[in-house]
Every structure is written in structure tokens, then in C-alpha cells.
């Protein structure tokens, strides 16, 4: 019989897997000719990022999880900022 922590860990990993699959389907689902699709894809990417962080936390890697938790919002914001002031204005 597994202890309760192993069961919780397994449940969290499976929930992360479901969220990652849903994100992958969402990324592939919409066509490129939609208006402002890049912002929607950045938004979808946040779900997979958070599920990866959750999985890393429950896999006993808190350094990786916290580093990624702090760096990801800056990266997402800089992509959206670059698209708004760079490519979209052209």
C-alpha cells in the first residue's frame, strides 16, 4: 500500500499531464490568420508553464521551480511587448 504522499504526488503529476495535453491541443487548434493569435498563445503557454512548475515542485526540485516561476512572466511580457512595438506595427 502506497503512503498518502505518494498518492498525492501521483495525482498532481497526472493533473499536470492533463493540463499539458490541453495546452498542446489549444496551441495547435487555432489558425494563424486569426487576429492577435500570438497573445492568445502566450496566454495558453502560461497554463503549461504553471503545470511544469507544479510538477517540478512535487518532484523535489524547488530551485528549478522557483527560478522558472520568477523568470517566465518576464519572458512572456517581453515577447508580447516585442510583438506590439516591433512586428505588429510594421
Amino acid at each position: 500500500m502506497d503512503d498518502i504522499f505518494t498518492l498525492i504526488k501521483s495525482a498532481v503529476l497526472i493533473i499536470s499531464a492533463i493540463l499539458v495535453v490541453l495546452t498542446a491541443i489549444g496551441l495547435l487548434r487555432y489558425k494563424d490568420d486569426m487576429d492577435l493569435i500570438l497573445y492568445a498563445r502566450i496566454h495558453m503557454l502560461g497554463v503549461a508553464d504553471m503545470s511544469c512548475i507544479l510538477a517540478l515542485l512535487f518532484l523535489n526540485e524547488p530551485l528549478l521551480a522557483i527560478t522558472y516561476l520568477f523568470l517566465t512572466p518576464f519572458a512572456s511580457h517581453s515577447i508580447a511587448n516585442a510583438y506590439y512595438y516591433g512586428e505588429e506595427k510594421r
Binding site: V21, L27, D32, L45, A55, A75, I79
Partner: protein, 86 residues
């Protein structure tokens, strides 16, 4: 097989599917879409490396994952600054 190993394999398969999706996204026509895809790919590969560490017992995968987690978003930020124009 215990339930933890099964759930780790399920997460590995989901991340493999997600990697294919992000590579597909990064081949779209705009440069920003490529950066979005590669940001997602770096997170997925880091998590895959940690899972490989726990499944196969390869300890140095953690170091590679740490480098990937730090350098992936920093490279994304730098390249976005270049696209925007300084």
C-alpha cells in the same frame, strides 16, 4: 509498477506531445511565434530531464535542466529586445 512511476510516464508522454506542438508553433511565419514556441519547449525539456533523472537515476540531468531553465527565458528576453529595437 507502482503508481508514481506510471504517473511519471504519463507526464512524460504528455510532455512529448507538448514538445511536438511547440515545435509546430515555432515554425510559423512570424518571429515572435517562434520565440513563443521555444519558450514552451525549454520548460518542457527541463521537466523531461527531471523526469529522466527520477526514472533512470541519471543525476547530471538536474544540472542541464537548471541551465536550460535559466538560459531559456533569459535568451527569450534578449531576443525580444532585439526584435523590438533598443
Amino acid at each position: 509498477m507502482d503508481i508514481l512511476l506510471i504517473s511519471e510516464y504519463i507526464l512524460l508522454a504528455a510532455l512529448a506531445f507538448y514538445c511536438i506542438a511547440t515545435i509546430r508553433i515555432s515554425t510559423r511565419k512570424t518571429i515572435s511565434m517562434g520565440i513563443v514556441g521555444l519558450l514552451g519547449l525549454s520548460a518542457a525539456v527541463a521537466t523531461i530531464l527531471i523526469l529522466i533523472k527520477y526514472i533512470n537515476g541519471i543525476a547530471f540531468c538536474s544540472d542541464i535542466a537548471l541551465a536550460l531553465v535559466i538560459l531559456g527565458p533569459i535568451g527569450t528576453i534578449t531576443f525580444s529586445k532585439v526584435i523590438r529595437g533598443w
